[in-house]
Amino acid sequence: MSASAESASVGSATEPVSAGPGVAMPPIPSATPSEPELVQLLTPEGERVTHPTYSVDVTDEELRGLYRDLVLVRRVDAEATALQRQGELGIWASLLGQEAAQVGSGRAMREDDYAFPTYREHGVAWCRGVDPLNLLGLFRGVNHGGWDPNEKNFHLYTIVIGAQTLHATGYAMGMQKDGAESAVIAYFGDGATSQGDVNEAFIYASVFNAPVVFFCQNNQWAISEPIEKQSRIPLYQRAMGFGFPGIRVDGNDVLAVLAVTKAALQNAREGNGPTLVEAYTYRMGAHTTSDDPTRYRLTDELESWKLKDPIERLKAYLVRTGKIDQPFLDALETESDELAAHVRQGCLDMLDPEPLSIFDHVYAEAHPMIDEEREQFAAYLDTFEGSEQS
């Protein structure tokens, strides 16, 4: 056994540690990561730039569409945050700052592709055509999901960190077996990359060559822990070790995200296996509405990221090139307000679930114990004044 010889490298420069009699100490290669590359097609200042590998061919109409998506998604997010402040939602996980990563990747998908989100993918949901109102049920506490995943090929939000990456991989394996030319996109964050499930998903996807794109929004913070607490190398470089490509993209650049994700999805559809896309972005808000980021990060950092705002840069580009004008912006603002009003009213109109709904959908088949409990609870509720005799 010479395991110790391969792993121990604690020796100082002056006194090399002997690994044993007659065994030479081979040098351990440094794990210093190579300089990260960042795919970018639109600079923070709103300049279009080119990239040797990735490009995106979008019409002016599509550009306006992307801008509209970004604005509306941010507006919904702001309204939900306000609703939480007013006690109408128990919690809200804001996507502020991550709109481009979500809209870019969401719009890269085809209808037949399938998305597995975390609990923050409000922008992806929007692109998949899920009514933002549906997202609120979970946060208001009237349900645990609220939409049919198969209707828009958008799975339920998954709260347990990283668990959905395995589901996505399995779903992709199913597509592969079916001979479908579709792909799956698995969303997760930087913190999730530490989870066993995510690493296992990487291994399964790699070994089975599953058509899945691992889309990691590296927003720099896992609640209070900076990315340095999760990884010593840029996250996208991890893919190499699992045997598939990894790409870092400017997550605040909707065009670059669109280009890279489109390419990765197409690659997967064509049978070339998984890709890890690291969308390098920033969580501009708190982890959730009750979190207090001032306890663990500096305002300077936030200020510097504000300069890279995903919406502002696209707006600058579109305005400068005359692709949008004031009437367009005015109309969009009106549409935003209407959408926010729809979300607000819909939220206020959401009824609390009936107590007996607790017993619904637990099993597909009859379960006498649950039935008995339901009956007993109904009878119990009926004993209170003001309850209706049922």
Binding site: G141, T289, D292, R344, E385, G386
Partner: protein
């Protein structure tokens, strides 16, 4: 037009001062626009408007302290003139007991909305939801006087019996204060020496209960001091018809000046029910003295009648019939007060309760749908009811659902009394003893069979006139049972 009520901004506080208005009448406000700054005992808080529209009126002046829930501003949102309050659930709930709110200690004060800080509705902010809510030591009212499944086990009114049933005084913890950690278990020594309860297996307990035997008084013969079925049966035979309820045989021999009898079982139930009734329903009691000579003659006739042989006929039977007939003429008396619904429930059936003294104490079984029974059927039902009660086998169902009650105190040789309503009922008739009395009959003083009837009724739903007419109708039937033919 919408009114914005001062919300509890999350600290379980009951009031706040209006510090400064950020808007004035005529201003247009948007949803979430800050309209006012308020000061609570803890902090200055800005309140966002839950509505959009034009400010119609500021209802509270700056510098004024108002209670949570007070309307502070009216916003015209175009919804019409009705100053409908906003949906209640839009406003954070006001905790029932502000002192119970789990707000952080002063030295730990955290900004509203942040973890550990106040959240809407008297909650405390957490990372992942609305935050914990406050609770209080108050029970939700249940339908009827008795909880489900418990039959008549407990009544809702406070009856302080715990001091009597506890071997040592109960240490009443202070509010929600959790107990201090003591170096060791703080169990008073008296508790350790307190005698354990009688040992018996469940079927034997059931038997003892059915036979009205107090297990604690039974001498156990089983291994390890366990009371056996035979022990209970023997004890039941010994006590049958001898010992009055609630007076353990021990009280004379011990020579103590007082005997403490645990309040439990039927006694406890009765006490709770009576307290509940006495302090819930305003009682009115009326009396009438009646010449029941003809009723007594009818009783004699029936007893002698061949068709009625073997049937137990008593004056009570005729009183029951009289009451049922009077109820037909005054149906509103057969009713109940539903406090929760704010309704009077008029019953179209009579479940006639008969208060019965039994070995276990007072029980009030009732005859279901007594109004539909013939006199003969009524007699049979009464006999069955009395037998069951005497045997101590009255089932809870037989005691529930009563609509009116008769208490027959005459059998104890008293004239009458002021009966207390059975909870949930509105009328109780007290039937005194029938005895020969000098009476003016057909213009002359003669000796007649006379009794006194007393009726108590719930004055919330039965007025004096109705109650009086009802009692008078009963009296008329008893005075001349033939009256029944006219009705």
């Amino acid at each position: 037009m919408k009114q914005f009520k001062l919300p509890d901004v999350g600290e379980g506080l009951t009031e706040a001062e209006i510090v400064s208005w950020k808007v004035k009448p005529g201003d247009t406000v948007k949803v979430n626009e800050i309209v006012v700054e308020i000061e609570t005992a803890k902090s200055l808080v800005e309140l966002p408007s839950p509505f959009a529209g034009v400010v119609a009126e500021l209802l509270v002046e700056e510098g004024t302290t108002v209670d949570v829930g007070t309307p502070i501003i009216t916003v015209d949102d175009g919804s019409g003139p009705a100053a409908a309050p906003p949906r209640d659930d839009m406003l954070p709930a006001i905790p029932e007991d502000p002192s119970a709110v789990g707000t952080p200690a002063e030295d730990l004060a955290v900004e509203p909305g942040l973890i550990g800080g106040p959240a809407p509705g008297g909650r405390t902010s957490v990372l992942v939801g609305y935050g914990p809510r406050t609770t209080s030591a108050v029970r939700r009212p249940r339908k009827g006087a008795t909880p489900a499944g418990a039959s008549a086990a407990t009544a809702q009114q406070a009856v302080q019996t715990s001091m009597m049933t506890t071997p040592t005084p109960v240490q009443e913890p202070e509010g929600e204060q959790v107990p201090d950690v003591a170096p060791a278990r703080t169990v008073p020594s008296a508790r350790d020496t307190a005698t354990s309860r009688a040992l018996a297996k469940p079927p034997v307990r059931k038997l003892a209960k059915d036979l009205g035997v107090d297990l604690a008084t039974v001498t156990p013969t089983g291994d390890g001091g366990v009371v056996t079925r035979g022990d209970v049966e023997q004890a039941a035979d010994l006590s049958a018809g001898e010992r009055p309820i609630g007076r353990p045989a021990a009280d004379k021999s011990t020579g103590e000046r007082e005997t403490r009898v645990p309040v439990k079982g039927v006694r406890k139930m009765t006490a709770q029910a009576m307290v509940s009734s006495a302090f819930t329903a305003p009682h009115v009691t009326e009396w009438v003295t009646v010449d029941v000579t003809r009723t007594m003659e009818l009783v004699e006739r029936l007893r002698a009648d061949r068709d009625w042989q073997g049937v137990r006929v008593s004056p009570l039977l005729v009183v029951m019939k009289a009451l049922l007939l009077a109820t037909k003429r005054n149906p509103e008396v057969n009713a109940a007060w539903d406090e929760a619904a704010q309704e009077i429930v008029v019953k179209h059936y009579v479940n006639l309760g008969i208060a019965a003294a039994t070995p276990r104490g007072l029980v009030v079984p009732n005859i279901k749908d007594a109004d539909a029974l013939s006199l003969r059927e009524l007699a049979d039902a009464l006999a069955a009811l009395v037998d069951t009660a005497r045997a101590g086998r009255t089932q809870p169902a037989e005691m529930s659902g009563g609509t009116m009650t008769i208490t027959n105190v005459g059998i104890f040789g008293v004239d009458s009394g002021t009966p207390i309503l059975n909870p949930g009922e509105s009328v109780i008739l007290c039937f005194g003893q029938v005895r020969p009395m000098p009476w003016v009959h057909e213009g002359e003083v003669t000796v007649r069979q006379v009794t006194q009837l007393a009726i108590s009724f719930d004055h919330r739903l039965i007025d004096g006139q109705l109650g009086s007419m009802f009692l008078s109708d009963i009296a008329r039937v008893l005075e001349d049972p033939a009256t029944a033919l006219l009705w």
